[in-house]
Structure formats: C-alpha cells, structure tokens
Symmetry: C2
Subunit: 161 residues, 2 copies
C-alpha cells in the first residue's frame, strides 16, 4: 500500500467525518472506510443521533457493512481508515473482525480536547476489575450459566439451524 | 431491585444464551436482557454466525433494542443482565449507553476455559498504546482531520438536518 493510496483513503474518511459532524449532523465528526486490495469495500460515519443508537460509531458501521459485502465475519486482508483513533468499543471490534491494519488521523487526546467525547475515561474504566468499576458490576448465578458452557463445550455441530 | 428479581432476569439471559449457542446456533452462548422499572425492555443474543456480523454480541443487540424502544441513546435508569462478563467492545458500549448497573453470570475466565472466546487478549491489546498493538496502528493526516474538529468546536447547532 503506497502512502498516496493511504492518504486518499484517509481523506475519504475525513470527508465522511465532516459530513457526519458538520453537514448532516448525524452524530459526532467521525468517518471510516475499509479497503481490500486497494478498493473501498465499506464506509461508515457516526449516526448516534439520527439512529438513536449509542453503538452506531463510524468503525462499527463500516465493519458491519464490510462483513455484509464479503459475507464473512473475518476481515483478514482488509485495512480500516478512521478519522479518529478508535474508542475501546471500536478498538475491540477491530480485533473481533481480525482486520490486518488500522490507520487513524486524530488521537483520542484531540477528541477530548475539541469536544466532549473523552474515550480515556472509558479506557480507564474497562481496565479495572469488574468489581471496581464506576457503573456497578455484580456477579450472579455463575454456576447456572456454566452449565450452558459445559454443554457448549461438548457440542460437536455448531452450525446454525 | 430484589435478589429474586435479579435472579429472574438473569435466568432469562441464561435461557437466551442456551438458545443462541445450543438450540438455534446463531453464535456463541451469550444472552442478555435490559430492564427498566422492573420490566424487560430489550433482549439480545449472539447472532455473529447467522447475521455474519462480528459485532452482533448479545449486549450490543440488547442496547440497540433498548434505545429503539425508549427512543434515546441514554439508558440511565436501566440495568443490563448478561450471561457472561462482557468483552471490551460490549463493556465500552455499556458506558456509552450510560446504563445504571450491570449483572453478569460467568466470568471472562470461564469463557476462555470452556471455548475459544478469549476476551483477555483483546483487553490486553487495547490497553497498549496504539503503536504497540499486534494489529498495526498508524497515524496519518492528523492535522487535516483536526480542521474538522476545530470547525465542530465552533459549531453552535449540532441537531441533525
């Protein structure tokens, strides 16, 4: 991947961030594209406000679209370009989707400096053990749920019915 | 919230985990319900396989459904019951959605012990600075993207068009 190509894809992600945050105001100024073999296969932008969905971040939207396009949950071989360093939700989604590479423009510290989106508090929270988190986390009925897991471990066929 | 009520809601989340992982095989055995004022307002289960979407975790699905139901992105006043301690993607989503409280059954260590879903590697990855992550993260065109943020900072009306 050449620098010129990287810059072209990132400029598209930045254009989507402008569209989201400043033109259509669908949510914060966050845009994202996913490429494969030098072509854009998915785009996403923040639509938290218009979709009334706190998980509709640019990266999540683009990952969903890319998986629909390729009909797989495995985005190996793909690169994700995001206008802003991902929040922990989107960062983890990048790992679940097994993307090859991530390119970002602004840093989390920029996002916090320019607007009220401060990912660092969430990064800090989810690093804590569950019992120490600000939103109370409580364990309940562990042994009942473990029975499901034991059955799952024994299950040979896991293809959808 | 009484213990009996907590257990009732958690048993529903566990039943959904069984449905997902063992009966319909839509994805791993993960189920979730969200309650408000002692009533279930949303349910979710893992549908990664059937929806071909690596982000379709039980908690994300339930958060989306609860927000649709209440027509808001703010789930203050709600409790989330999940059959398994959330992965970092879902843990962060709980913070974005501003839930009051989270109750989980099995621990991340159970999930890793019984199956191939090992969240701990993703928790460890996203704690690292971007440059040290296993999936390469690279910064590009930061100053171009900052211009969008500066415009956003000045923007008075952020309501959707």
């Amino acid at each position: 991947m050449s620098l010129a190509e990287d810059e072209r894809f990132m400029r598209r992600a930045i254009a989507l961030s402008r569209q989201a945050g400043l033109i259509d105001c669908t949510g914060g100024p966050f845009g994202c594209v996913i490429t494969r073999n030098g072509e854009i296969i998915a785009e996403g932008f923040n639509q938290v406000l218009t979709e009334r969905d706190p998980t509709w971040h640019a990266e999540i939207a683009a990952i969903r679209q890319a998986c629909q396009h390729l009909q797989t949950v495995d985005l190996s071989g793909c690169t994700l370009y995001t206008s802003a360093e991902p929040c922990p939700m989107c960062a983890a989604a990048v790992y679940w989707a097994k993307l090859d590479r991530l390119v970002f423009a602004t840093r989390c510290s920029d996002t916090a400096a320019y607007a009220e989106f401060d990912d660092s508090t969430i990064y800090a929270e989810i690093q804590k053990p569950a019992r120490d988190r600000t939103i109370p986390h409580q364990e309940l009925l562990r042994s009942e749920a473990q029975i499901v897991w034991q059955d799952y471990q024994q299950q040979r066929d896991r293809t959808p019915n």
